[in-house]
Each structure stands twice: as C-alpha cells, then as structure tokens.
Symmetry: C2
Subunit: 296 residues, 2 copies
C-alpha cells in the first residue's frame, strides 16, 4: 500500500494511473500537480485526485511515489523543481515515450539523487486526453516497460513495478537504449510516416478530391496522424538518432520496392507483400491472444 | 427490375452485390460463375445465387447485367471469354480497384462491343473473402465510382448506376485516369507503405523483440498489410504509373522531413504534423458524417 502518490499531469496517463491505483486499494492519498487550474479542479471533482498540490515542498513531503505524466518537454523542468525537495524514501518515475533523453535529464536535474529515479513507459494510449479521458482499466493487460538505472535499488524498482501491477499492467524491462530503438521502429516511425502521408495529400492541389475518396484503409493507416503534433514533435526530437536510423532503413526499403515496381517485377513485389502479410498475421495472433483478458 | 444478373466471382464483392440486389427486390435470377466448384456450391447453398452457371453462352443468354468480381488479374480472360456471346441489351460492368488497365483490357477483348462495358469500382472492402463473407449491407452508404467510356449510352450507365443504388451505394463519376490517380494516393500507396514497413521490421535480426512491443498504433497503421499479397501485387502493377508518381512524391516528402529531423528543426516538424492532424480531423468529420447512415 502506498500512502501518498504525487502525479504531475492528471490527464489520460496520470489520471488513469490514479484511478487504477485507487480502484485496487493500492494508495491512500493522490496529490495532483499541474499547470492548468481547470484540469486540476476537474480531476478533483471526478475523484481522480484527493488534493490539488501547490507548494512543491509540501506536495513531496512524505510522498512514496511521484509519477511524471505531464508532456515530456516539461520533464527536465519538473525534475529540476523536484530535486531540492526530494527526500530519501521518495521514488520518482515517469511515463515518457522515450527513455535515453529522460535518463539524461534526470541525471542532470537530480544529480546525486538520481538513484531515486526509476524510468518507465506504459504502452497504452489513445487520442483522447484530459482528466475526463482517465479510466480505471487503461493499463489492464497492457505492457509497462521499466528501463532501470544502474544506481536504482532492487526495492525501489519493485515499488514502481508493484504500482503498475496494481493497475493491471504486465511489467517488462529494457535498457533505455534498447527501449528507444524498439519504439523508434514500432511506434515513432509509423507516426512520422502517417503524419507525412496526410500532409503530402493535404498539400496537393486536388486534395479535396483525394480526401473525398479516402476510405477505411486510409482511416486506419492514418489514425495515428490524429495524435498531438506537439507531443510527437517532442518524441521525434527526443529520439532523434534512433528515429533517423529507422527512417533511413525504411527509405532504403521503399527505394528497393520502387525499383521492383518500375521494373514490373511482380514476383519481387509479391514477396515483400506476402512476407509482410505473414509476419503481421503471426504478430496479430500472438499479441491479440496475449492482450485479451481471459473471460471471467 | 433486372431479370437476370450474371456475377463472375461470388465472394465478398460479388456475393454482397447479389445479396443486396435480392434484398432490394431488384433482380429475378442471379447466375454465379467461378472457377471454384466449392465456392459456387456454397453461394448456392447460402441463397446468394440461384443458378451455378457453366456454359458461357447459356449463362449470358438473356442477361441484363454482368458483374466481374473475380480477381482483377482474370479480367482480360473473362472479357475475352464473354465477348463472342455478348448480345445487344446485355451490359457488363466490373468492380476492379484500377480502371485504366481494365478499360484497355475491355477495348482489346470486346472490340466493337466495348460500348456495352461500363467500368466501375465500389469503395468497400474488408479483409474477409469467400461467399460466407458476403453481406446485404456492404455497400450501404458507400461510394461506387463509375468511369464511363465515351462509347457508353446514358441508358446503359444508368442501368449500372441503378443496380448499385439499389444496393444502397452513392454513385460518383470520374474518368479512368482521374480514378487511378486518386486511388494511387489514398489507397494503393498506403497499402504499399504498410506492407513495406512490416516487411522491413520482419527482416531485422531483432524482429521478435520489435513485434513484442508493437501496440495499437502499429496495429491500425499496418491493418492493410493483412490484405491479400496477390491482389495488391496486381493492383500495384495495374496502376504502376500513378503509383510510382505518388511514391516519388511521398519519398520526396520523407526526404524533407528527414532533413528537418536531422537539423532538430522542431518548428518545421511540428508544422508538418499539425497540418496533417488538422487535415485528417477535417476529413474524419466530413467523411464519418457522410457515411454514417441516418438513424431510423
């Protein structure tokens, strides 16, 4: 049981963490911290948080766990503001989509207290946001990746892992570098590609005609281009080296496929498409089985 | 009322056309033609067709309308087989995803009877196939694009349009060339990009690790990579010139975006992402409003 949890940012990610912990009876008091008084008031009204925090020292006093769930661009500033008031026994974690940059920011801001910071990334998201988007079961059956530091104690890592398990999540561990390479490939690159396609179409002179005939395939392919431009700008920049490497590999793949198409090489095109279809089918069967909760 | 409709291919597209026409009371007899005796027997058993056609002359005798809904690679061969038995008063249409190549095939096969061929493309599809996938309302509220020939009579075009309207579809008209440019951009290119991404990931040495962390964004982005490799090979080749042009434009877009990322130009990246998000939101609101049937 955690006595006091402080959450920076009480939208979809932070608010759902609070709701799930409360639902599991895993926390006594949740203190919300954030820049928008309206969001804080709404989170309080919805029962997501028990207290709207103001003064940093008071908010952190006696806290067992601090979750950073504000936009990642604020991570460094929040860590710097926390640092002077961070006492032994308080563990800080985050929910950022990139980890190498967060670790660097944490080392810079927390200095000799960095052992108290256990980086994390819940793999759950939607296009909705704000306290009203927060739900009890956002993390149910979903993965949370922790990327612990060499300085972290096993007990502190377990405190963070235990909180996420109480939310129904399945815990995984990667190094920050592994994490960033993996998510560059399976998340950050697809977002960049979807944004690029919609922008490409929107800038054509006959964009209105094109959009008129876009159908369900287009809808699903571009769903992630409905995500927050600011958030994905920050993620793209934060994971720049890994994302550039994945983008280069993909552009090389497109160059090859273009050559097959220009040469009318149906067998080579079909080989690429068939390998993709097969791999996706295997993935879909494995993942959907793993993430579908057992019937009650 | 159509007295006799002949359908080549009684899977999702052809079978749903038959079901919808029957449901609307718009046809007396549906004759199914196809290479798989098992599929034909199943379509008969399900009541999708009334007769399994065998002899081409007999099947076409007295037919008002013929729909080609077999894989597009068979279009030329089917048209050539139809040609000698095609009598005045019978109109032929198709459901292919590309139109310039179909028009060329129709001109080659039907010669002086080409005026009887009205090309079409219903914008409806799923990953399912076969007679069991056929449903009454596949076309309800969906677009059907006709790309008439200069030789078509207004009355023949209206017969095809009327059949699709009886299925609940909304009729649009484009030239074959316009059609192929539009669908290269909003359908064929996204399919190629999704296949390319999954193949790219599947070929990496750490593919298993990557797939393990792929989540809902990846699932939606790559859903169309679950489509038939043969069908999309054929579509890619059939629409080669327009698809190459769209692919080149997209690769130029990626090259620009890569330069922004390499230069850490957050403002330029955000401009692309924000334009895409805005355009997609507008599209989503307009399309989803248009395609959602009014409450009954």
């Amino acid at each position: 049981m955690l006595n006091k949890v402080v959450i920076f940012g009480v939208g979809l990610i932070g608010g759902s963490f609070a709701r799930a912990l409360k639902h599991a009876g895993a926390v006594n008091t949740v203190v919300g911290m954030g820049r928008s008084p309206a969001s804080m008031a709404r989170a309080l009204e919805l029962g997501i948080i028990d207290v709207v925090g103001g003064d940093m020292a008071e908010a952190l006093n006696g806290a067992d766990l601090v979750l950073l769930a504000a936009p990642v661009a604020q991570t460094g500033a929040i860590l710097a503001a926390i640092a002077p008031h961070l006492r032994p026994g308080t563990i800080v974690t985050d929910a950022g989509s990139t980890k190498s940059d967060v670790v660097a920011a944490a080392r810079a801001a927390l200095k000799d207290k960095v052992a108290q910071f256990v980086p994390g990334h819940p793999i759950a998201g939607r296009e909705t946001n704000g306290p009203d988007a927060a739900i009890i079961d956002l993390y149910q059956g979903k993965k949370v990746v922790l990327t612990p530091l060499a300085e972290n104690s096993a007990a502190d890592i377990e405190t963070v892992a235990g909180a996420w398990r109480a939310c129904g999540a399945i815990l995984h561990t990667l190094s920050p570098q592994e994490h960033d390479k993996v998510f560059a490939a399976v998340s950050h690159l697809p977002h960049l590609l979807a944004f690029a396609l919609v922008d490409d179409i929107a800038n054509k002179p006959h964009a209105a005609l094109l959009f008129q005939y876009a159908a369900s395939g287009f809808r699903d392919f571009t769903r992630i281009a409905g995500s927050s431009p600011e958030m994905w700008r920050d993620i793209s920049l934060a994971n720049q080296p890994a994302l550039l490497a994945e983008l280069d590999a993909y552009m090389a793949q497109l160059t090859t496929l273009r050559a097959h198409l220009a040469a009318s090489d149906g067998a080579a095109i079909e080989a690429v498409y068939a390998n993709a279809q097969h791999a996706r089918q295997q993935w879909s069967e494995a993942i959907e089985t793993a993430e579908t909760p057992a019937p009650k």
